[in-house]
């Protein structure tokens, strides 16, 4: 069930260049139903900025009624969010969207997780749940530069981690696709989240058998305004990123 809740900020700290980690507490967490969902945030009481901001759930703890997000403080909304401190509240609409499926996998499956930049966060909860489900997780993370890298160690808890940077200042120089070529010859299913060019490259290289998480500009976040549509790959129809997605099977929609 989708909720609107003023959730309490437990902490909000910078973990890499422009990247913040925020933890919120509230009842809404009870409704989260798996990795890859997102929430739609109103960061101020006033009307500036006007629209909510969609941000992925990075991890959630149902027992503690808390969840964590990682976000890049760049524009007006995310910058305001970065100024929130413990005891402040954030108006959260969520949980929203259809996340990464973890069912239908044979026990002990080899899962490849590929994340680029600020697309990395939702893969964390995914990795955790896959590992808990007895699967093997290999994570490939791509960043621009050394200062942008985050959560490399966090992912190591769940399996092998390969990091690439575009300028080679950390990990291997290149893109996630290069690291996959080199280190991940086989996998049973792949999951990816990141910028469109990365998703396109992955889909081309790895084909179907994977799941892609998309970003699109949003209005309502709940399926009513039709701002966030993407086209069906083979057909005249469309999908809404906010409700049908943000996660789609590779090959279903035009990335």
């Amino acid at each position: 069930m989708k909720q609107v809740e003023k959730m309490k900020v437990l902490r909000n700290e910078k973990i890499a260049r422009s990247i913040f980690e925020i933890e919120l507490e509230g009842n809404l967490v009870q409704h989260m139903s798996g990795p890859g969902q997102f929430v739609h945030l109103k960061v101020t009481d006033g009307m500036d900025p006007t629209l909510r901001r969609p941000v992925s759930v990075c991890r959630y703890e149902r027992k503690k009624s808390t969840f964590t997000m990682l976000y890049r403080a760049e524009g007006k909304g995310t910058q305001l969010l970065s100024r929130k401190t413990a005891e402040d509240t954030v108006d959260v609409l969520g949980p929203l969207g259809t996340g990464f499926p973890t069912d239908g996998l044979k026990p002990g499956s080899r899962c490849l997780l590929a994340g680029g930049g600020i697309g990395v966060p939702p893969l964390y909860e995914l990795a955790r749940q896959l590992k808990a489900g007895g699967h093997h997780v290999t994570t490939v993370l791509g960043f621009r530069s050394k200062e942008d890298v985050f959560y490399e160690e966090a992912f190591r808890e769940f399996g092998d981690v390969y990091v690439t940077t575009e300028d080679g200042t950390h990990g291997a120089k290149g893109f996630v696709t290069d690291a996959i070529d080199r280190h991940v010859p086989v996998w049973d299913r792949y999951y990816a989240c990141g910028p469109r060019p990365m998703l396109r490259a992955l889909e081309t290289k790895l084909g179907t058998g994977g799941w892609l998480s998309l970003e699109e500009r949003m209005g309502c976040g709940i399926g009513a305004c039709l701002a966030c549509v993407c086209d069906e790959k083979n057909g005249p129809g469309y999908r809404k990123v906010c409700t049908d997605g943000p996660v789609f099977p590779a090959g279903e929609v035009v990335v």
């Binding site: 609107v4 009513a224 039709l226 701002a227 966030c228 993407c230």
Partner: protein
């Protein structure tokens, strides 16, 4: 307790608040948040005879105090809307207004004829003001002669009252309003979005794939107020007011300007509970005025001279 009911051609409303077309889909998504029967009415997304895919993305952009959209009238087409969406809405005790768009008068007539047969469709709203499509839409709304002609044609075939939704992107909105009144319109809806654009500083190109889009939200409320104020003095038919309503005070402003009912658009995206919240707050606010029915407040800004309207403050 002030009487909050509003009675307009075809529409017996519990209260003057409804969602604005295109900002509420066909209601399903918001029914997950509250009982749609709470609403004064529901105005659904624009319907065209056949399915329409709309514009490429990005379709929305944020602006200072508002947003731009260029959805482009995406909708599943008349048949699907009739069989699925409007049928589904019958479970609620709420009058439905069907917003209609098209590229020819025949398009409008076809949709109007079909939907006006449904028991819960109590009125249609002719969208002659959509800024986001190349053909039709806004073209009908900028020329008074064409607007009157379209209204007349639809009136002939439509068995429920016809509201015409006016575009603010004109020199003389009162002229268009009077023309559609002459054409037989039962009411007016105003305002649709202002034509706007944002440019992405990184690419140097418009943010919206469509280039231009429709500006909505708080930013446009002063324009809506002045147009409703102007038009309501010049026509006899009632006005459903809209444009930047975010709270009960904003709705009241449009009513005092001359609106009889108020539609809430963009604010639904900010707060899914916007409509019921405004309905509750409005009842509380209106109780402070010395009136027995909210209808008495419509057009008070020009109907009476300056008096302290509020009883306690």
């Amino acid at each position: 307790m002030t009487d909050m009911r509003v009675s307009l051609p075809g529409l017996d409303m519990k209260n003057p608040i409804m969602p604005a077309s295109g900002c509420f889909g066909f209601g399903k998504e918001y029914s997950e948040f509250y009982d749609l029967s709470l609403l004064g009415a529901i105005c659904v997304k624009a319907v065209t005879p056949s399915v329409r895919k709309g514009n490429p993305t990005p379709r929305v952009a944020e602006t200072g105090g508002g947003m731009l959209n260029a959805i482009g009238l995406q909708n599943p087409g008349l048949d699907h809307v009739m069989e699925d969406e409007l049928l589904w809405l019958q479970q609620f005790n709420v009058p439905v207004i069907v917003n209609i768009a098209g590229t020819t008068p025949e398009d409008y007539c076809r949709v109007a004829t079909a939907v006006s047969d449904l028991p819960n469709v109590k009125a249609v709203e002719l969208n002659i003001s959509c800024p986001n499509v190349k053909e039709g839409g806004i073209a009908f709304g900028t020329d008074p002669v064409i607007a009157r002609d379209l209204t007349e044609k639809v009136k002939k075939v439509c068995s429920v009252p016809v509201y015409v939704k006016l575009s603010p992107n004109v020199t003389d909105i009162a002229g268009v309003a009077q023309a559609v009144e002459d054409g037989g319109a039962d009411g007016l809806s105003m305002i649709n979005t202002l034509l706007g654009m944002r440019i992405d500083l990184a690419t140097g190109r418009p943010v919206l794939a469509n280039g231009t889009g429709g500006l909505s939200g708080s930013a446009i409320r002063p324009v809506a107020v002045r147009m409703i104020h102007e038009v309501s003095r010049k026509v006899q038919i009632p006005i459903i007011g809209m444009g930047g309503v975010t709270c009960a005070d904003d709705a009241l402003e449009l009513i005092l300007a001359g609106a009889s009912a108020v539609a809430v658009g963009t604010q639904n995206f900010v707060d899914p509970f916007a409509c019921p919240a405004i309905i509750d707050e409005l009842a509380e606010k209106v109780s402070r005025y010395n009136v027995s029915s909210i209808q008495e407040l419509s057009g008070r800004s020009w109907k009476t001279s300056a008096t302290q309207l509020l009883t306690n403050r």
